[in-house]
Symmetry: C2
Subunit: 366 residues, 2 copies
Amino acid sequence: MQTLLFNLPTKIIMGNNCIQEHADVFKLGKKALIVTGHHSAKNNGSQADVETVLKKHNIDYALFDEVNSNPDIPTVYKGAEFAKKEQADFIIAIGGGSPMDAAKAIALLACQDIKEENLFSGQYDDKVLPMIHIPTTSGTGSEVTQYSILSNDNAKTKTTIATPLIFPAYALLDARYQENLPLTITVNTALDALSHNIESFLSLKINSLISQITQSGIKQIGDCFTALENNNITAEIREKLMYSSLMGGIAIAHTGTNIVHSLGYSLTYFRHIDHGRANALTIAEYLEFIAKNNPDKVKIILNCMNLPDVAAFKAKLTALLGEQEHFSLEELQSYTKIALKAKNINTSLTCPTKDDVLNLYKQSLI
Amino acid sequence: MQTLLFNLPTKIIMGNNCIQEHADVFKLGKKALIVTGHHSAKNNGSQADVETVLKKHNIDYALFDEVNSNPDIPTVYKGAEFAKKEQADFIIAIGGGSPMDAAKAIALLACQDIKEENLFSGQYDDKVLPMIHIPTTSGTGSEVTQYSILSNDNAKTKTTIATPLIFPAYALLDARYQENLPLTITVNTALDALSHNIESFLSLKINSLISQITQSGIKQIGDCFTALENNNITAEIREKLMYSSLMGGIAIAHTGTNIVHSLGYSLTYFRHIDHGRANALTIAEYLEFIAKNNPDKVKIILNCMNLPDVAAFKAKLTALLGEQEHFSLEELQSYTKIALKAKNINTSLTCPTKDDVLNLYKQSLI
């Protein structure tokens, strides 16, 4: 039989007021380092809620709020130096994928000296600061994964630290922090969650349990498409999106992503297209590509979303994406070379050739 | 929104030869205590496979193979004394629910002095021997739960130790050890797994993720009913049963069981009816009871099993159970009093009155 592996050491607590109602979770040490971006955690109330709980428990804290989108290597080394200087016992990450991914690298680098050339080696000591992750977007699923994805200027792409050491101890998910999240971010992160669930479902590494989890994630995000199109994003829709993102995170923690993410990284690195949007730009053609050999699997995805065929799936995406970016053949040829080097490209049910990758790019982006 | 909690610290590895292929898992210490029953682990090859792996890694071990069905309190104290005497660093449980549940209590008692009157208190120090669980039946799901259920002669029923401390570190599931499991045990344990998934799905504590997991468990066990009836139990059926049992275990780790288990304990304690069979004797009437207030939920269960109504569900069970035991009204009145005291009886979607419990017993068992 196919081997079933399941490993999710992160304790998940999702619900309104979960920070307040599970305040004991924060008793992980005497001093916390809050890792976040410049503004959003202050604006959506999450940082204030965390600070209130920390003060209530007399837990000291320092704030590192310098994480930009697509965090780079200098930022995480800087954060780690700050964690050491402040003698933080644990880390609280608040934000989208960028602060969460940066926090994981900081948690690792705060406890061990790793040279930059070894940062992605996978060879680490068994020492890391424990972490609480509080996602304030619904896309990355980083709160339940062992991945920290950083912009890597040497490789001119995004590179991943992958180690079970950096699974957060706790993921606390409260959809209320997303009430005022702008539509564009809501849509782009939702599309990232969709691509996590779909790529995982179409991965060679899928197993029965993860398959259920991804289908559940795809169904719930499918329920949100009309609301996203109409910018009618209720609290219930926010919860569904948060759930889908969580399912996608659990899924990719077990299977990784594959072709769509491999193709997307260059779109973000060279053209600064948002990560979720970058995935969405090629995912319909990816489904067509997989359907050639595995039509039944693609049919299951479409059924989860109540869509009759890939054309209908593409139409739904087009409505959400609006005017799409275009690329020259030269750009796409260059991206193809980079995508083929990505670790995750060969874990899809169908392994793409160089021509397949270029065709996926061309059909999606010219 | 409904709070979603998920906590499963046990690493799961399921597949043929998983003991051999993941032998590094056993490096949890210098000396292991193998906890098992008298015969089955020797007959099905699992104990020999474990011993081979331990010898390969030069890990010493001692054997405690005195666990009977429905293990009692003296057995686990005896096992803990043996673990201390042998200075075991970790425990390997091999067998069905009885050895696994006994192993959990032994792991706890080997590290801390707990008086018998405090054994079920839930108040323990943070010390326990780490455990690897290797289930060789497909019913209990104990390999992924924080429960140790022991026969309690003082309370004249089964009583549960429940603490996250006793989640096994690893669950290794290889269906090949069940190749020669007798039909009666196969059926009874499958019915236990079915009741775990169904009771969890109908629990007040259910959440979206656990709901998916239980539906997946119910579906796969539903696929096995005809094979169980016809005693045509292939390797593929064994895998499906093992998967269903695993899903049921993950589910009850989050929701607990409820009415059916509360009703079943007395049938086992006083009339020595196998645990899984005891559950199956009342589960059809339980579905009728729940359907009064929650017909849609019961419909989902029936759909998972491709059954049109509860009558068809009952007919399927009757075919598997064969001639059923009968009870006097006096017996059932006495059991009703005991069932009403069970902690888990009030977590079902509909909370039963005393009359409801007696009626469930009467409709099922007179």
